[in-house]
Subunit: 151 residues, 2 copies
DNA sequence: TTCCAAATTTAGAATGATTATAAAATAAGA
DNA sequence: TCTTATTTTATAATCATTCTAAATTTGGAA
């Protein structure tokens, strides 16, 4: 399990300073289980840093991703990129309708890293294991709307 | 293995007409193993359809994705969304430097679909299993540049 | 055939997430 | 304190993608 230290020390070891903004972004990423976007991080931290800039959020996220301590999952029905500070192998499951992403533990994904590295010679930096579809609530919503139209 | 018919009949069963543009987009997706972007598809088909529009490419891709016969993998170092007509479970492996995506067969991913459906109640539409890092060639390139700087 | 309405494609404008830029603020060290 | 490198910020710019309305194509009557 990633802790705040995992992220902050990654930044330091990369020769970067630990500013309050960067620390808060790392904290939010580790504490959150909602796979936030840059905009969500920005909005959440705005009250704490009145002058926070979106550029800082994007820059910090890019750095964390390129250091391999944060995974970038991509779009989830919205057109925003979602991030995941939990780099332990697991399945992410997104609803294309409400854009929520939940975690699914799976024994199967645990061994993929080693398998891929061995088979490919690639230097792995991150994983994007995201299945997508419709959550139960949004399935019901769709069924209801389909019924409406038919009548 | 997906054939051209998998995609075209999905469009027809959704009540859509099989136009030459749509058929060609489906063909290209099935024939290609390079996980193309909308722009790549557009450029490839432009010689055949002088008046082809990017909107048609995007619309067709969206439809195919929402029908579950094409997977959307997301960005790969570039900022273009890559698509995969191979919906058989497999690992995609992207190089963030040269943006190439290769396929890695894996026994482990085969059972994920069923496992996720059972555990979640979601209606699955697609999978995005993409690991990313640096291919061997780009690793060498980076090492060489690091050496340069040091001297 | 010819005609019609629906579906589709197209060209071009608009959107908006992300990136780039340059100036202001901050921090580390002499 | 100075000095300098790093970082943040405000704002402009980019560009992949989406939207829009007009033009084209289609399939099915008549
Ligand atoms: Mn997750
Ligand atoms: Mn693939
Ligand atoms: Zn939902
Ligand atoms: Zn490469």
């Amino acid at each position: 399990m990633s802790t705040i230290t995992t992220l902050t020390s990654a930044l330091q070891q990369a020769g970067m300073r630990l500013t309050p903004q960067r620390t808060s972004i790392c904290e939010l990423l580790v504490d959150s289980d909602e796979h936030p976007t840059a905009a969500m991080i920005y909005e959440t931290l705005k009250p704490r840093f009145a002058s926070l800039s979106l550029a800082t959020v994007y820059n910090t996220l890019d750095t964390l991703v390129s250091l391999g301590v944060v995974n970038v999952l991509g779009h989830a029905g919205d057109d925003k990129v979602h991030y995941d500070a939990d780099t332990e192998p697991h399945v992410n499951l997104a609803c294309l309708s409400c854009s929520k992403i939940v975690d699914i533990p799976s024994e199967h994904v645990t061994h993929l890293d080693a398998e891929i590295t061995a088979a490919s010679g690639y230097k792995l930096l991150g994983a994007r294991v995201l299945y997508y579809g419709l959550c139960p609530a949004c399935q019901k919503k769709q069924a209801r709307q389909a019924t409406m139209k038919r009548n």
